[in-house]
């Protein structure tokens, strides 16, 4: 995990001496280079997935094989153009995505863009909920651990943070379900909302797709309550995973800031430790967290797949597992392309923020 967190920070430092000599180091140039790196990132991931998926054969045999006679199958494959050389198909596919046409899913014949919009918002909702949980736990307790450094509170919090990371989301989900749904009966076992709420949400005009927002906008408080109840366990299961990382990160950064010269100066003038923590060390220590938060998007998306499957939360991750099992390659490629775009753009934003905050990054 440390490797995951520290690598992105360490990388500019490691590369800096090499590139400094070449690029002059103006902010605009740096950001431009970073911006154009978005495209190869997306291209590489889309290419990898395209060829990996085609290794196993064409999408139609994979999805419908066994259900159709061989000659019918061959006819369908020919009509769809899957019997042409793979490189022609590849460039055709690239051309299609470039114009924003992702095609239609093979197994349920949905337009990929509609599918992404429907399930993407569900994943977004889960991600927001869990991020709230993670920040609410990670920041205060991380500061506490730094403040009580090497005392028993610090020990307990650090072991807890590692345990959160060590617990797979689906096991955390299972325990939460057992305790809070089955034994205590406080929360529903799975799903995004009850049946009546689902229907109410589907019949809304111009929905955002984020249920609690829609419920609030339409003033349906019963639905909102129902949605809130359904949201708690998935958000906690996924949130705890990231909370552990935030906690450790806040702790390390606050400890680092607390030993800075200006904090020492404050200490020597008799400023209390508590005030040093809350007034002097708090804000500078949070800056690296903003960038790392962006980098956690990959972990969050990976965790979302598991959380969604655990709680039958019908989002992108749930659908990705479903489409992979159904060998619906068009759908899988569409989802991966969207995720690649999200990851690449997030990384770009992180780079921009990091460069604006810390001039040393612009090499």
């Amino acid at each position: 995990m440390t490797a995951m967190i520290d690598l992105p920070q360490a990388e500019p430092a490691a590369q800096a001496p090499e590139r400094k000599s070449k690029a002059g180091g103006s902010l605009g140039k740096y950001l431009l280079v970073r911006f154009f790196l978005i495209f190869p990132t997306i291209l590489i991931l889309v290419t990898m997935v395209f060829f990996l998926m085609r290794v196993t054969g064409d999408p139609i045999t994979a999805a419908l094989g066994g259900r159709l006679a061989p000659d019918q199958l061959a006819q369908r494959i020919h009509e769809a153009g899957y019997d042409r050389p793979i490189f022609i198909q590849y460039f055709e596919y690239l051309g299609q995505i470039a114009t924003g046409n992702f095609g239609r899913t093979i197994s349920d014949n949905l337009a990929i863009s509609d599918m992404l919009a429907t399930y993407g918002t569900a994943t977004l909702e889960l991600a927001i909920n869990s991020l709230i949980v993670a920040l609410a736990i990670g920041i205060p307790f991380g500061m506490l651990a730094a403040y009580k450094r090497d005392k028993y509170q610090d020990a307990i919090l650090r072991v807890l943070a590692i345990s959160f990371y060590a617990t797979p989301v689906f096991f955390a989900g299972l325990l939460l379900k057992l305790v809070f749904s089955i034994w205590l009966g406080w929360f529903p076992v799975s799903g995004r909302a009850g049946t009546s709420t689902e229907i109410a949400m589907a019949s809304l005009a111009a929905p955002t797709g984020i249920y609690w927002l829609d419920a609030l906008r339409s003033g349906n408080m019963n639905a909102f309550w129902d949605i809130a109840q359904h949201s708690v366990l998935p958000a906690v299961a996924l949130g705890l995973l990231t909370a552990g990382i935030f906690l450790r990160l806040v702790r390390t950064n606050v400890i680092g800031t607390l030993s800075k010269d200006y904090v020492e100066a404050g200490r020597s003038r008799g400023v209390s430790e508590y005030r040093l923590l809350t007034k002097h060390a708090y804000k500078p220590a949070l800056i690296p967290i903003i960038t790392v938060m962006g980098l956690q998007i990959a972990l969050l998306l990976g965790g979302a797949v598991l959380t969604e499957t655990t709680f039958e939360w019908k989002g992108l991750g749930f659908q990705l597992a479903h489409y992979l099992t159904a060998r619906d390659f068009v759908a899988v490629q569409g989802i991966v392309a969207l995720l690649a775009v999200i990851v690449a753009i997030t990384n770009f934003i992180v780079d921009v923020v990091a460069a604006l905050i810390d001039p040393r990054v612009r090499y």
Binding site: T2, A3, T41, D150, S163, P168, G302, L324
Partner: protein, 318 residues
């Protein structure tokens, strides 16, 4: 300094245990004990487990009893036996995955860092793209491509391991590449060039040994990530078939529906096994990492030992 480094490279855990104190020592020892218990269980699985991993019984979903101390699953497997045998699957996958990714990652990192130029640029962009993408999602796609999603014990272990390898290579690649670039400018490499040593020899003899010092750390940290990825794959149904080997993630998938009807024993035990194993490996890796970083080491020692050149910190961070 020189003797200390060679001692560290030979016996990483021992030297760190000596450096440690108080809380950090406790965490390190806990990590060592848990990891040792995990390895021992894997080695002695045939002796510990009363039944085979894939042995099925007529009692399904039976609660814990004297015959099945941790109960049985809906498929009639003994939960205790499957949890114990699961350690073996986990060890095999970790060893294959991490060995493969170190091997490939180190070679690519050395080449990329030493040769530089367009090869370096392409490899860096590709590695960054893979590194940025969610590990598990890529591993899922890989496992579908390798094994069509279902497989027996050995091919399952290899397909899971290769899926994990692909996503781990960039991590080793980046560390080794950064180190290689740094070492390339060192006097001893320059003198080797002057003497007329070939590029292959410089990479293999001079740079390789110096660039791989931090690998034991990444190894322990990655081992825990490999277990989580394996379990994640198994949980989503892209892992190893239950009839060919015991795998915790798969068992937890089936335990989800059990949990909804209040059957706790099918999920709690394999889940606890994952948590304890990952916890042990992470505690071990984390403590070693902290002990190598003078900023994070126990404060009382910092004054006494001043061996914190910034290069080392950069290394550990990477």
């Amino acid at each position: 300094m020189e003797t200390k480094k060679s001692l560290f490279s030979r016996l990483p855990v021992v030297s760190q245990l000596k450096k440690s104190m108080g809380l950090q020592r406790g965490m390190l020892i806990a990590g060592i004990v848990m990891t040792a218990a995990f390895l021992l269980t894997a080695a002695l699985a045939p002796l510990i487990s009363p039944y085979g991993a894939t042995q099925r019984f007529n009692e399904t979903q039976a609660p814990p009893s004297s015959v099945h101390i941790w109960g049985t699953t809906a498929g009639g497997y003994d939960v205790f036996a499957r949890t114990i045998w699961g350690t073996q699957t986990a060890v095999l996958v970790i060893v294959v995955a991490v060995a493969l990714s170190i091997f490939i990652g180190v070679i690519l990192g050395l080449l990329s860092g030493y040769i530089g130029g367009w090869l370096d640029r392409i490899l860096v962009v590709v590695a960054d793209a893979i590194y940025a993408f969610p590990t598990l999602l890529l591993a899922m796609v890989m496992s579908i491509a390798i094994s069509q999603g279902r497989s027996n014990m050995w091919s399952g272990i290899f397909s899971a391991a290769i899926s994990i390898t692909v996503v781990f290579i960039p991590q080793y690649f980046r560390v080794i590449r950064a180190e290689t670039i740094r070492l390339k400018a060192e006097p001893f490499v320059e003198s080797a060039i002057v003497v007329g040593a070939s590029s292959v020899r410089i990479m293999a003899r001079h740079i390789y040994k110096n660039a791989t010092r931090t690998l034991p750390l990444i190894f322990t940290l990655n081992a825990s990530e490999a277990i989580l990825t394996l379990a994640g794959l198994g949980f989503l149904g892209f892992g190893i078939e239950p009839s060919s080997a015991a795998e915790w993630g798969y068992d937890l998938n089936h335990a989800q529906t059990d949990a909804a009807s209040g059957i706790w024993w099918t999920g709690v035990f394999p889940g606890a096994a994952i948590v304890l194993t990952v916890l042990g490996l992470t505690l071990l890796g984390e403590s070693m990492n902290d002990l190598n970083d003078p900023r994070l080491r126990g404060r009382k020692r910092v004054g006494k030992k001043k061996n914190g050149p910034t290069k080392d910190e950069e290394l550990v961070d990477a």
